[in-house]
Each structure stands twice: as C-alpha cells, then as structure tokens.
Symmetry: C2
Subunit: 80 residues, 2 copies
Amino acid sequence: MKVSAIITLKKDVLDPQGKVIHQALDGMGFENISEIRQGKYFEIDVNENDPNKAKAVVEEMCKKLLANLVIENFKIIETQ
Amino acid sequence: MKVSAIITLKKDVLDPQGKVIHQALDGMGFENISEIRQGKYFEIDVNENDPNKAKAVVEEMCKKLLANLVIENFKIIETQ
C-alpha cells in the first residue's frame, strides 16, 4: 500500500526558500498571502497490506533518514 | 486560512531523487519498499476566509509558478 510522508520545518525555524517564493508570488500579483512554508513530500509504496504496519515502517524511515528531527516535523498520511 | 499544495511528478516521469532515496533505505535494511517518489509540499497561509476562494487562489499559484504542468501534477488540500 501507498503511504505518504510530509516533512515540514518546525515553526521557529526560518524558511528562506518559502520567503523567496512568497516574494515571487507577491511580485506576480498574489498579494493576500501571509506566509508560505515549503516542505518535502514522499510517496512510499510499501509491500505491506496492514495500514498500521505500513505506517510504522514509514515512521521509522522518517526518523532514521527522511526527516531531520532537530529542525523538522513529519506527518504520515495513508494514501491508498 | 491555510491551504496546502502537494506537487508530484507525473507517473511516466523518471524520479532519480526518489530512486536514490530508495537505494539508501534499501541499504539501511528497509527492504520491502516497491517505490519511492519525491514531491514538493507548500503550506500557504492566505488572507481569505472562504475555503473555496482560498483554494482557487492556491490553484492559480500552482498553475503559474509552483508546478511545472508539463511534468508535474498538483493537489490542493485544506489544512485549517
């Protein structure tokens, strides 16, 4: 089954990339934006039919490789 | 309100970054993965209280700047 992981910077961590995108959109006429933050997204196809086990595997991946837990949070979503 | 946009490569487009992550995870002992695809994630705080209007604004942003529609798909999710 497919499981998705969304990794975002923690609230207090500066996001220069998001700021640049904000400025670019501002310059294009999108003026009513308060903030943009960029994150990473992974769609992982795990050979596992039990949703809870699949999520547990992805959680371990996030902890060990995908996310830097010092500055990032992760969220796991069931896709299928 | 906050709206999120998830941008992923289309199915037929190669994802070398995802492949490398797959190999890395494989080497770390996560062996039951069929595929990993990486995407981008944006959390956009729009000054707009109507969810439909906020989503429409974010959709336009995706079309004009955030996504490359030739090779990428986007999905818009209401966060708050």
